[in-house]
C-alpha cells in the first residue's frame, strides 16, 4: 500500500459512506473508471464497514481473559506425584487439563494431567475411581491414548495422568488434507477398530467427538478420554446435567434423556462423526438448546441427508447416496434401529468400499430423488444461491428485531436447520418448467411457498419458521399481500405447536404487513395479540414486549391517534431502559419518533426534551458526522424555532449546514432544506437580508440538484416569495410565484397540499400589486385546495379564508 493510493482510498471511502447506500454502487462504478485500483479496495472496505467488529473485539477480550486466569493460576508449578504442572490447557465446570512434565526427568516426558471434578471424592467413590482406573490402564491399543497414572491430590481431588497426544482433531484433519471419501472411510475404520477394542473390554466411551479423536503425523487416529465420562460421574445424571456436560451434537438421544447408555450409544456418536467427516457439516446445531428442544429436533425432525448437506459446503467430491443410508442407520434415534455393534458398522463400510450391496440399503426412499437432482442441480443452483442470500438477510433482520437473548440463540440454532431444509427443498423443486433457465428468486419463493406443506408435512415447526422467513422476504420485495398470507399460515402453525415465541414473531410480521397494506384496524388487533402473548411469555419488562409496544404505537400514530401512540412509545422506552437495551439505534429512533409525534401535537417543550435525548444518544454513539446526528440536530433546531427561541436555533442550523457541505458534498439533496430553515429563521428574526440570501441559496441549490421543474424547487420558491412579499418587492415576487405555480401545474395533482401555500403567497403578492379581483381568485383557489387536501379547520384554510375576506372587503370598500 503506497501512501498515495491510501490517500485516494481514504477520500473515496469517506465520500462513499456519506452517500445513501443506494447511491454507492453508481458512485463506485464511476470511481472504477477513474481509479480502478482505489475503487476495488473501497468496495471491500464498504462491505467490511457494514460488518460488526466482533472479529477485533472478541480475540482481544478473550486473550485478556486467559491471560488473567493464568496470572492467578495456583496450579502452575504445583507437583502431582512424579509430575510438575507447567501450563493449563483447558478449564471447565468439571475440572481442568494441564500440561505437565516428569520431575525426576530421567527422560523428558510430557504428559497431560486431568483434574477430574473440583470436589473431594468420598472414600467409597475413591475406591471405585481406582478400580475403574485399573481397567482403563489395562487398555493397550495403538489408536487409544494410554492412561499412565492417576491419584488424588492432598486435598482429595482425583486426577489422571494421560499420554500427551499431539495431533489434529479428526474433522480438521480431513478438511485440511482434503481427504477423499474412500480415504476418510479407511481412517474412520481405524477409529471403529479402537472403539470395538474398548467395547470388547467392556468400556464404553460415552463422549466420542472430533476433539477426542486426534490424528497424528503418521495419519493414525488416537482416541482420548476413554471411559472418562463414566469415571467422573458414577451417579446417573439428570437429562439437564447430561446436556450441560456432554457435547450435545454427538450425544445419543438416550444419553440426553438420561436413559441407560450402552455400546450402541457409541455407534450413534460414530454415526454423527461420520456425517460430519463426509459432509463437512454437523447434522444439528444444538448448542444452547434445552433438552426438550434437542429431543424434538433430533427425534422428531431428524437430519437432512449427508449427501445433500455436503453440497452446501465446499467438499469437492459428490457423496454417494448409499452412504446416506449407512450414516443415517448409525445415527438413528432408536437404538434398536442402529447397527447392533461398531463391528457391524465397520463391516458395512467394508461392503461399500468393495462395491457390495449394503446392509443399510433396505429403505432407500431418497434414491429416486437423488437421481432427479443430479440431472438438474446446475439450473437450480443460482436461484437457490439468490434465495438463500435473501433468507440470510431476512434472518439478520429478525435477529436485530428480536434481541431477547435466549430467543436469539434459539433462533440462530434453528436457522441452520431451516437453511438445510431449504436447500433440500429447492434441490427437489421441479426445474423442468424453467427449461434450464435460471429461476428468479420470486419464482423460488412461490415454488417454496406452495411446496412447503407437501414436503414438510410432518415438520410443522420448520414449516412455520419457513413460512415466516418467506413472508419476510416477500415484504422486502414489497409484495405485502403475499407476505401477509405467509405470516397468517405461520401464525396458524405456531398456534398448533403451542410455540409462543415463534407465534409472537409471526404475529409481529403479520402486523407490519397489514400496516403496509393500509389495514390499520386489523394491524392494531394483531399487534395487540402479539403484545399480550409476549407479556405472558417473556414478562412485562422484556425486549420483545418493547418491540410490540412500539410497533403498535406506530400503527396508532399512522391512524392519527397520537395520545395512544405516545403512551405506547414511552412504555416501550421505559422497558428498553429497564432491560439495559439502550445501545441499539432502535432506541434512538424511538426517542426521535416520540419527539416528532409531540411536535406534530404542538407539545413543543416535551418534543424538545426528546429531540435532545435522541441527539445526545446519536452523538455519543455515532459522533457528529452521522446522518442520524444531523437529523436530530436539525429537528431540535426546528422545534426551537417553533418555541421562538431563535438565538438557540441559529447555531444548530448553521452547524448542520456546515457539516452537510463538508461531509456530504455540495450536492447533498437535503441541504437546501437546511438552507431554507435558516432563511425562515432569519425572516422570523427580522434579519431580512440574511433571510433572503439563504432562501435564494436554497432555491438555487434545489434548481441545480433537484432540477428547475421539480415540485420541491417550487416549494422553496414559494418560501422566497413570502419573504419578498414581506419586503414589499411584489414585482419580483410575482414572476417567481408564477414560476412555482407553473411547475406545480406540470407536476402535481390539483389537490397537492403545498399548492395552497403557493396560492396564498400569490394572493398576497396580488394584493400588494393592488390587483384585488385576481387576489380573491387566488385566495379562493387556496381555499379549494385546503378543502380537498387538508383536514377541516387547518390553519392554512383559516389563513386562506382570511385572505378571501380581506380581498372581498377591500373590493367593496373600493367600490363604495
Amino acid at each position: 500500500m503506497t501512501p498515495e493510493l491510501w490517500q485516494r482510498i481514504e477520500a473515496a471511502f469517506a465520500q462513499a459512506l456519506e452517500l445513501v447506500p443506494e447511491q454507492r454502487p453508481p458512485y463506485l462504478d464511476a470511481l472504477a473508471v477513474r481509479d480502478p485500483e482505489a475503487a476495488a479496495q473501497v468496495r471491500r472496505l464498504i462491505a467490511a464497514d457494514a460488518a460488526d467488529d466482533q472479529r477485533l473485539r472478541q480475540p482481544i477480550g478473550r486473550a485478556l481473559e486467559t491471560f488473567g486466569e493464568e496470572l492467578d493460576d495456583p496450579w502452575i508449578d504445583r507437583r502431582l506425584g512424579a509430575y510438575r504442572i507447567t501450563r493449563r490447557i483447558a478449564t471447565g465446570g468439571m475440572g481442568a487439563v494441564f500440561l505437565a512434565e516428569r520431575v525426576d526427568a530421567q527422560f523428558e516426558q510430557q504428559v497431560a494431567i486431568k483434574l477430574v471434578g473440583t470436589q473431594t471424592l468420598a472414600a467409597d467413590a475413591q475406591a471405585r475411581f481406582r478400580a475403574e482406573r485399573q481397567i482403563l490402564a489395562g487398555m493397550q491399543h495403538p489408536f487409544i491414548a494410554h492412561l499412565l497414572d492417576g491419584g488424588t491430590t492432598e486435598d482429595g481431588a482425583a486426577y489422571l495422568v494421560m499420554e500427551y497426544v499431539v495431533g489434529e482433531p479428526i474433522d480438521a484433519y480431513c478438511t485440511a488434507h482434503h481427504l477423499p471419501v474412500d480415504a476418510t472411510l479407511r481412517l474412520f475404520k481405524k477409529v471403529c477398530a479402537a472403539v470395538a477394542y474398548a467395547h470388547r473390554n467392556l468400556v464404553v466411551h460415552r463422549d466420542l467427538k472430533p476433539g477426542n479423536i486426534l490424528v497424528d503425523a503418521q495419519g493414525d487416529p488416537k482416541l482420548l478420554d476413554f471411559g472418562i465420562a463414566k469415571l467422573i460421574s458414577d451417579t446417573p445424571d439428570t437429562a439437564e446435567q447430561t446436556v450441560q456436560r456432554l457435547t450435545p451434537d454427538y450425544a445419543s438421544p438416550e444419553q440426553i434423556l438420561g436413559e441407560p447408555v450402552t455400546t450402541v450409544s457409541d455407534v450413534y456418536a460414530l454415526g454423527v462423526l461420520l456425517y460430519k467427516l463426509l459432509s463437512g457439516q454437523r447434522p444439528y446445531e444444538l448448542a444452547g438448546l434445552r433438552p426438550a428442544e434437542v429431543e424434538r429436533l433430533v427425534v422428531e425432525t431428524g437430519p437432512i441427508r449427508p449427501s445433500v448437506a455436503s453440497r452446501g459446503s465446499d467438499a469437492g467430491e459428490a457423496l454417494p447416496a448409499e452412504l446416506d443410508a449407512l450414516v443415517l442407520k448409525a445415527m438413528n434415534p432408536e437404538p434398536e434401529q442402529r447397527y447392533a455393534s461398531v463391528l457391524a458398522l465397520s463391516e458395512d463400510i467394508d461392503r461399500y468400499l468393495s462395491g457390495q450391496p449394503l446392509q443399510a440399503r433396505a429403505g432407500g426412499w431418497w434414491y429416486p430423488a437423488r437421481k432427479f437432482l443430479h440431472r438438474h442441480t446446475a439450473a437450480v443452483g443460482l436461484a437457490v444461491t439468490l434465495f438463500i442470500g435473501a433468507l440470510v438477510a431476512a434472518g439478520y433482520h429478525n435477529k436485530t428485531l428480536t434481541a431477547e437473548r435466549d430467543e436469539a440463540r434459539f433462533e440462530a440454532s434453528r436457522a441452520q436447520a431451516v437453511t438445510d431444509f431449504l436447500i433440500d427443498l429447492f434441490r427437489q423443486a421441479n426445474p423442468n418448467e424453467s427449461q434450464g433457465e435460471d429461476i428468479s428468486a420470486r419464482e423460488i419463493l412461490d415454488t417454496g411457498a406452495t411446496q412447503l406443506d407437501e414436503h414438510l408435512s410432518d415438520q410443522p415447526r420448520i414449516r412455520a419458521e419457513l413460512r415466516r422467513s418467506i413472508g419476510t422476504v416477500y415484504a422486502y420485495l414489497g409484495l405485502y399481500q403475499a407476505a401477509a398470507t405467509q405470516f397468517r399460515d405461520a401464525v396458524a402453525l405456531h398456534e398448533d405447536l403451542d410455540d409462543p415465541a415463534g407465534l409472537g414473531r409471526s404475529l409481529s410480521g403479520l402486523g407490519e404487513a397489514l400496516l403496509d397494506l393500509g389495514q390499520l384496524d386489523e394491524a392494531a388487533l394483531i399487534h395487540e395479540r402479539a403484545l399480550n402473548l409476549r407479556r405472558q411469555t417473556f414478562g412485562d419488562v422484556s425486549i420483545p414486549v418493547a418491540y410490540s409496544l412500539s410497533e403498535l404505537g406506530y400503527v396508532r400514530f399512522s391512524a392519527g391517534d397520537y395520545v395512544a401512540s405516545d403512551a405506547l412509545g414511552r412504555e416501550a422506552l421505559t422497558i428498553l431502559e429497564q432491560s439495559g437495551a439502550t445501545d441499539d439505534d432502535y432506541y434512538s429512533n424511538l426517542l426521535h419518533s416520540l419527539a416528532q409525534s409531540l411536535q406534530i401535537q404542538d407539545r413543543l417543550t416535551e418534543a424538545e426534551q426528546f429531540f435532545r435525548r435522541s441527539l445526545e444518544w446519536d452523538l455519543d454513539h455515532h459522533g457528529e458526522r452521522h446522518t442520524n446526528s444531523l437529523t436530530s440536530l436539525h429537528d431540535l433546531a426546528s422545534v426551537l424555532v417553533q418555541l421562538e427561541r431563535f438565538v438557540e436555533a441559529e447555531p444548530l442550523f448553521l452547524k448542520v449546514a456546515a457539516i452537510e457541505t463538508d461531509m456530504l458534498g455540495p450536492d447533498y439533496p437535503q441541504h437546501n432544506l437546511t438552507l431554507n430553515s435558516l432563511g425562515q429563521l432569519y425572516q422570523k428574526m427580522e434579519r431580512l437580508d440574511d433571510a433572503e440570501r439563504y432562501l435564494r441559496d436554497a432555491v438555487e441549490h434545489a434548481r441545480r440538484v433537484r432540477g428547475a421543474e421539480h415540485p420541491h424547487t417550487a416549494y422553496l420558491i414559494v418560501g422566497l416569495v413570502n419573504l419578498l412579499n414581506e419586503r414589499a418587492r411584489f414585482d419580483e415576487a410575482q414572476s417567481l410565484v408564477d414560476e412555482a405555480l407553473a411547475i406545480y401545474a406540470a407536476t402535481v395533482p390539483d389537490d397537492y397540499p403545498h399548492l395552497a401555500t403557493a396560492r396564498i403567497a400569490q394572493a398576497r403578492t396580488l394584493i400588494g400589486l393592488s390587483r384585488l379581483p385576481a387576489a380573491e381568485t387566488a385566495a379562493r383557489q387556496a381555499l379549494a385546495v385546503c378543502a380537498a387536501a387538508l383536514p377541516a379547520g387547518h390553519w392554512l384554510a383559516e389563513r386562506a379564508q382570511a385572505l378571501v375576506d380581506e380581498t372581498v372587503a377591500a373590493q367593496s370598500a373600493g367600490t363604495h
Partner: protein, 187 residues
C-alpha cells in the same frame, strides 16, 4: 510501586521529545499493567473478568498525577494501549511456543471447552494486521490501539487525542474497515 512524581516527570520529558524518557517509562507501565491485572484476578471479586478499560484507567490513576495536561495524558494512554497490546501478544506467543511442531495442542476433558488456542492465534493475526496498517498509516493504527487495547470510549478518545469527533469517527471507521477486511482475507 514506582515513584509517582518521577513517572510524571518522565512523561513530560517524553512529551517534550525525549525518547530516553519513553524507553524508561515503557517497562514501568508494562509491569504496572501486569501487576494490576494480577491483583484484579487474585482480588476479592472472584469470578470477574479483566477489562482493558478498567486496567488502563487504574494504571493511569496509580502512576500519574491527575493535573497533567492533555498532551501528556494523550501520550500516556497511547503508551498504555501499546503496552497492553504487547502484554497480550507476548502471552499469546508463549502459548504458541508451547505447541510443538506447529500442531494444535488438543487434549480435552469431557465437558471442557477446547484449549483457548484459537483466540491466541486470532490475537496474533490482529497484531500482525495492525503492524501492516502502521506501515502506511501509523495514526490510524494508534487509534485502533486506543479503542481496543486500552478500551477507551469514543468520547475519551476524542478528549485524549484532541481530534474532533468527526475526524475521529472518520479515521476509526476506515481503520476498522481495513482491519476487518484484512482479517477476513486472512481467515
Amino acid at each position: 510501586m514506582p515513584d509517582r512524581p518521577e513517572i510524571t516527570v518522565l512523561l513530560k520529558d517524553w512529551s517534550a521529545g525525549n525518547a530516553v524518557a519513553r524507553d524508561r517509562l515503557m517497562p514501568l507501565v508494562y509491569d504496572e499493567l501486569q501487576r494490576i491485572a494480577r491483583r484484579a484476578m487474585a482480588g476479592e471479586h472472584a469470578g470477574h473478568t479483566l477489562q482493558p478499560t478498567a486496567l488502563v484507567h487504574e494504571v493511569f490513576a496509580r502512576l500519574i498525577d491527575a493535573d497533567i495536561d492533555w498532551q501528556d495524558r494523550a501520550h500516556f494512554y497511547a503508551l498504555c494501549a501499546r503496552m497492553m497490546r504487547r502484554l497480550l501478544v507476548n502471552h499469546a506467543e508463549s502459548v504458541r511456543a508451547a505447541k510443538r511442531g506447529g500442531d494444535a495442542l488438543r487434549v480435552t476433558l469431557e465437558g471442557l471447552p477446547e484449549a483457548a488456542t484459537g483466540s491466541d492465534e486470532d490475537l496474533l493475526v490482529i497484531d500482525e494486521a495492525l503492524n501492516r496498517l502502521a506501515e502506511f498509516d501509523a495514526r490510524k493504527a494508534d487509534l485502533i490501539e486506543l479503542q481496543y487495547f486500552a478500551g477507551l470510549s469514543f468520547r475519551e478518545m476524542s478528549a485524549v487525542t484532541g481530534l474532533s469527533s468527526s475526524t475521529l469517527d472518520r479515521e476509526l471507521r476506515l481503520a476498522r474497515a481495513w482491519l476487518k477486511d484484512t482479517l477476513l482475507a486472512n481467515s
